[in-house]
């Protein structure tokens, strides 16, 4: 049984899935490059990268999405956290975060005006018009990847002129935010934060010899 569990664990480790990496940083020129090269050096591509302010004044927040195994993601996070201007790094699977991506769609206004069904389809997909001009209309929708993708295929037959999707932003479900953490960082003493170790998490099992 224990062996089976081990096998299961091994195989889980080898499975690539989407991970959301949240990086809290100082706002410094060149830091984006410093973080980006940690990925590119290992030939890992970004699925999505977003930088924005965070809940704390003057602290920046990166949201990075990559598809990798957890083992690789953990190592990447430690390398990121090693950078002088990085305060803290977290990684989560899609289940552990609430995430959204925004998309814009440009469609010919004539087509919309002619075909009532288009308006219905847009409404059904939660899209709203941002700009309506004589020649074209721009719709916006926000949601998961499948939802924004779905609207592309729906609009395609009606002559989708232009499409763009934003990077992903994600909020960690199980997080109390960074304000308390930052106070800890501002003290001289290093934090008590434990870096997970899978062997230690197994507790007593490891120490039987």
């Amino acid at each position: 049984m224990a062996e089976e569990l081990n096998l299961l664990k091994m195989s889980n480790q080898d499975i690539k899935e989407e991970f959301n990496i949240t990086v809290y940083t100082e706002n410094q020129i060149g830091l984006l490059n410093r973080i980006a090269i940690i990925f590119t050096r290992r030939k890992i591509n970004f699925d999505s990268l977003n930088t924005s302010p965070s809940e704390v004044d003057r602290i920046h927040r990166f949201n990075i999405v990559i598809t990798e195994t957890e083992d690789v993601v953990r190592k990447l996070c430690r390398q990121i956290e090693k950078q002088v201007e990085v305060l803290k790094v977290y990684y989560h699977t899609n289940e552990d975060v609430i995430w959204q991506e925004m998309a814009l769609y440009k469609v010919s206004t004539d087509v919309i005006a002619e075909k009532v069904s288009v308006e219905r389809l847009l409404r059904e997909n939660g899209a709203r018009a941002v700009v309506i001009r004589k020649d074209y209309t721009v719709f916006e929708t926000t949601g998961h990847r499948e939802e924004t993708d779905n609207l592309i295929s729906i609009l395609q037959p009606y002559g989708l002129i232009e499409f763009v999707r934003s990077a992903r932003v994600a909020i960690i479900k199980d997080s109390e935010g960074f304000n308390a953490k930052l106070r800890e960082f501002e003290r001289l003493e290093p934090g008590e934060d434990v870096i997970e170790n899978e062997f230690l998490n197994d507790g007593d099992k490891v120490f039987t010899m």
Binding site: G30, R78, F185, P190, F199, M209
Partner: protein
Amino acid sequence: MEAVQETTSTKDIAEIAKEPVEAKELTGSEALLEALVIEGVDTIFGYPGGAIMPIYDALFDYGDKLNHILVRHEQGGIHAGQGYARTSGKVGVVFATSGPGATNLVTGLADAQIDSTPLVCITGQVFAHLLGTDAFQETDVINITTPVTKWNYQVTDANEIPEVIAKAFYIARSGRPGPVLVDITKNAQVQKFNYKGYTPCNHIRSYRPKPIVRAKYVQQAAELINQAKKPFVIWGQGVILGGAEQEFKTFIEKSGIPSAWTILGAGAIPTDHPLSVGMLGMHGNYGPNVLTNECDVLIAIGMRFDDRVTGRLDKYAKQAKVVHLDIDPAEIDKNVKTTVPVWGDCKETLPMLTELVEQKTHTEWLNKFHDYMQQEVDTVIHTELNPTTPELTMGEVIRELNELTHGDAVIVTDVGQHQMVACRYAQLNKTRSNITSGGLGTMGFALPAAIGAKFGAKDRDVIAIIGDGGFQMTLQELGTIMQTGIDVKIIILNNHFLGMVRQWQELFNRRRYSFVDIDSPDFVKLASAYGIPGKLIADRAELPAVLKEMMDTKGSFLLEVSVTKENNVFPMVPQGCSVAEIRLK
């Protein structure tokens, strides 16, 4: 890797800095040099050029406080800075100009980054208003050096200089040390500003130099060690960088655990210590490699499981529980899965561990290492050190050298066969005695690094051991020796080949010797052109006397030793093999 010992204690610096400084007008260049003086810098390795001229102009008036060594190439400058940092334990300081001056630093930065050497490099840069215009000697130094620096920063306003230099020194020397580069635009160098004194840095909000020590893990590590029947310690440069040599010695002596070193850990305790069982890795000793796959608890201290140490990872110490002591959390589980991670500076964690481990001897287990060593002596070492062939071997040169140095000299090596031989056989009694390019394997490292090493340890003998290939990569630094009159002994072990590559071609490429046959100039004549005495020998009988002549010579000396052309370094763990598959021949 562990924190560097702060030779200039921050307290001293803080006291100097506290002396009230009346706000005065200084140029950016003057503020930089003031900062260096307060940081306790005594030596700078550098090369001037257009974009750093204002700093050099200010330096003209600092001759009594800052000794600037004019090198012959910026790569030589940075390797000298590394050698200085490695022997002195202080931060090495390097100046270079913009463009080509700065790009010539890149190899040294990469070397210092991978070997955790504390450096602060100052590069000049074109005027801020010219940035991005492809101005004369403009290169994007910050982006070029980002992957090979611990931190870098571009200064465009003189007001930033005191704070940025303070940060640079703090980052370079604290935690796991590393190279820092500060790029200063020419306008900031000449700009006058209201200088309010220099405050050294000891805290950056987002930067944890060392993780907090968790007593729980230390305790768990001690439990594992106390239960172990065949514990094995492997240590690296972290012990030296942390200044924890004594703490380390106390730990292994109490626990009685056989201990082996990585190439950069060599010399942390004397090589002839009874518990020191030899070198790890591709060309390390037989026992430490084989028994890595037999021990029950592997205790790694301030080392990072480089692939040259582990060999094939999926067959590395799979039977063992692994305890890993390291200051850099990113090293834990990076290559080898850890059973108990002991985060922290080993200067702090080792005494905690020593307290909890039982006093023990592991005689039977230690004897196993001795048995393997005997096999290695019989098959490899004896013939290497006492050859009967007409030609000299590299090993016997090192053996003779040991007789003269008694292990007290600083040994600086380049990269290749001679490096492996020197690191295997050199006797080292003192810490900070083995200066070599470990992680990056930079040929051309040794000559400039030896110059820097001597400036960092002026009371010690410094001997550079270099191959004929590597010497030709940075031989221009003979000019630096000439001009400074520094005392560096140079031994060129000339096998007329790029020996390590030739060895691989012999063993793995069916002796297809592709471009490894290398001609050399008359090295003795070359030295003589620089006013450095020298000798070439090929005869065994002459070796002891000539080595003695070299050591007795006041000032530098170049000794070229013609050695066997096609000798191989053994033992060897072939690439892609497990450490247990180490070959004796």
